[in-house]
């Protein structure tokens, strides 16, 4: 969580310095829910994070180097500068690479889980992350229905941060609670205070265990506020100040630190050490990647096919 916060803040700072091409999307305020996912998953599981899941990605095992190389457009990164920012992962390691179309990754995770069933690989779980906005898509509906029909071990985590970009919940859905949707699909629903790390670890952990044990798809809805804009270009001036002042507007990182101190699992000195270690790791990685050369268009093969022999020549003026 702490590493994710510091890494995200570094990306935001690099963005403001003009060092990042394109947008920066950070998970400030959503780290507790996200990290709980990464911690609940094991090797062999499948994870399709969304844009605010730096914490979940790191906990699942994504190297800081992959994140930095993708944001800074290094050809040495997993996306080779062909795709950037939050569009990164290593599918063969179970970390799927999101496309921008919301809800589209859920069915992809279903496919992975069905493949595991075909191959006789038991006990694996797939998690797909979405926000409140994606629950309005046809893709969400189709995929959750599909997972329920096939009784797949899918855990669908909805980070309900009350705004899809600037659109508030009341313009997004009219049901009482998104958790209520689960029963309509034949899935099990869970809701959790997304600002409370302890609660997130418990509820996400239970949902993952249920799916792993064969109970079919689980829908987890976390209530929280993103403590930042949709992207770093956005000042989020549309967020209701009353919501910010309410418990849902708490900073989950501060809450987690208070919990650690309250339980005497860590003291202030330990927290300071963790913080400086995380900052050092991020600074060292950024410094390393900033020395790497950018992609060379002359070294690109400009071929989208795996079957290179079927690539068409260029039929346009050179």
């Amino acid at each position: 969580m702490l590493l994710a916060r510091i890494l995200d803040e570094k990306f935001a700072s690099l963005y403001r310095m003009g060092k990042i091409h394109g947008g920066v999307f950070i998970g400030r305020g959503q780290e507790a829910l996200s990290v709980a996912i990464g911690l609940a998953l094991r090797k062999g599981d499948v994870f399709a994070p969304l844009i605010r899941d730096t914490a979940g990605r790191l906990a699942f095992g994504e190297p800081v180097l992959d994140a930095v190389r993708t944001y800074l457009g290094s050809p040495l990164g997993p996306m080779r500068a062909r795709d950037g920012n939050v569009h990164r992962g290593r599918p063969k390691d179970g970390l799927y690479v999101m496309i921008s179309h919301l809800g589209a990754m859920i069915a992809v995770v279903n496919g992975a889980l069905l493949a595991h069933r075909f191959k006789g690989i038991g006990g694996t779980v797939g998690v797909a992350c979405i926000g409140d906005g994606a629950t309005s898509t046809g893709a969400f509906h189709e995929a959750l229905n599909q997972a329920a029909i096939e009784k797949l071990p899918l855990v669908l985590v909805v980070a309900n941060n009350y705004y899809a970009y600037s659109t508030p919940n009341e313009r997004q859905f009219a049901c009482r609670s998104l958790t209520d949707r689960a029963i309509g699909y034949g899935a099990q629903g869970h809701s959790v205070d997304g600002t409370d790390l302890g609660a997130c670890l418990k509820v996400i952990g239970e949902a993952v265990n249920l799916a792993r044990g064969g109970a079919g798809p689980q829908l987890v809805v976390g209530r929280l506020l993103r403590l930042c804009g949709h992207g770093e270009h956005d000042d989020a001036g549309y967020v209701d100040p009353k919501l910010k002042a309410s418990p849902v507007g708490r900073d989950c990182l501060k809450v987690a630190e208070e919990q650690l101190l309250g339980q005497s699992w860590a003291n202030a000195e330990t927290l300071a050490t963790w913080r400086s270690e995380a900052a050092q790791k991020v600074e060292e990685t950024v410094a390393k990647v900033q020395r790497e050369p950018g992609p060379d268009p002359y070294k690109e093969d400009w071929c989208a096919l795996a079957s290179k022999h079927l690539a068409e020549g260029h039929h346009e003026a050179a």
Binding site: A107, N110, L114, A304, L310
Partner: protein, 321 residues
């Protein structure tokens, strides 16, 4: 024994399932029912658990195929009618088509699209979707015109490491027959000279190949020798074979059943005009369906798409230019 185009598609799927445990079929009504057109007849019984009925969710069907492919499977997705693939368009063009380029992980999925017009089918059960998918990088688009190609190209589609849009023509399902299934085949990406000639080239694909062959036969009685090129796959498009044919004949008519704006015929003509202008003795011509939705009534439908009659008229005009 005679084998139809539809039988060939069924047999190719049976062989793919038998030869490769990574293959499975997913689509609406494909299981015990055997598919809306019976292209998967008895396959669910022959291959238990591997021919799966899908809900009416084209987006989720295609998304599932991509996830299964990432984990090493080789899914065949039957879209009941090509027209309905628009509901799953996003997963095809943004998810499947970009996966390998972005992540180096291949996406070996085959999407079967029963398309093209049949009498009485109307605007939403008749469309030809090849141009739409050929537009996107990362996809292979096959358009078999013969029983032999329906069989061998479908097997090749399953074996390829890329997403393949397999455009099978519903009109050919029962109309086209062959004596036996092929044991060898031309590779995908190579067009075929369906009939040699020296006076004019007609480039066609899918069901239009047969209309073009009928025209070639008709014009032979007027002592014209028409060369018919069957593209077989529209992406990759075998420009070399087309260009070599135009070099022999000097005249080009390109025929497609899809809507006229852009598309396969426009692409063929653009390539010949820009790369083989000097080979042409007359302006290259194209003939497509009309720029309206596909009409329901047979009288209107027959006038909407190119037929041997309208192709012959276009060919005669071009021969006298």
């Amino acid at each position: 024994m005679s084998i139809t185009y539809l039988d060939a598609i069924r047999e190719a799927q049976a062989k793919a399932l038998a030869d490769d445990p990574r293959v499975f079929i997913y689509g609406q009504d494909v299981g015990a029912f055997g598919g809306a057109f019976k292209a998967t007849k008895n396959l669910a019984q022959q291959f238990p658990g591997r021919v799966i009925d899908a809900p009416i969710s084209e987006d989720a069907m295609l998304g599932l195929a991509v996830g299964a492919a990432i984990e090493g499977m080789r899914p065949i997705i039957e879209i009941q009618f090509a027209d309905f693939s628009t509901v799953g368009f996003n997963q095809i063009v943004n998810q499947a088509a970009t996966l390998h380029w972005r992540t180096r992980v291949p996406c070996p999925i085959t999407v079967r699209l029963p398309g093209g017009g049949t009498s009485g089918s109307g605007p939403f059960h008749s469309q030809s979707m090849e141009a739409l998918y050929a537009h996107y990088p990362g996809l292979i688009v096959m358009t078999p015109a013969t029983v032999e190609d329906a069989y061998s190209m479908l097997l090749e589609a399953v074996a390829l490491d890329d997403p393949v849009i397999f455009c099978e023509h519903k009109y050919l399902y029962y109309h086209l027959k062959a004596e036996k299934l092929p044991t060898e085949a031309m590779p995908v990406g190579k067009a075929r000279i369906a009939r040699p000639g020296r006076d004019m080239t007609i480039v066609a694909y899918s069901a239009m190949v047969h209309e073009a062959l009928e025209v070639a036969e008709e014009l032979a009685s007027e002592r014209f020798e028409i060369e018919v090129v069957d593209l077989r796959s529209v992406k990759p498009l075998d420009t070399d074979t087309v260009m070599a044919s135009v070099a022999r004949t000097g005249r080009l008519l390109c025929v497609g059943e899809a809507f006229p704006w852009g598309g396969v015929t426009a692409e063929v003509i653009a390539r010949v005009a820009s790369e083989g202008f000097g080979l042409l003795d007359a302006p290259p011509q194209r003939l497509n369906a009309k720029d309206t939705p596909v009409p329901y009534h047979p009288n209107l439908w027959a006038a909407h798409r190119p037929t041997a009659h309208s192709i012959a008229a276009a060919a005669r005009r071009l021969l006298h230019l």
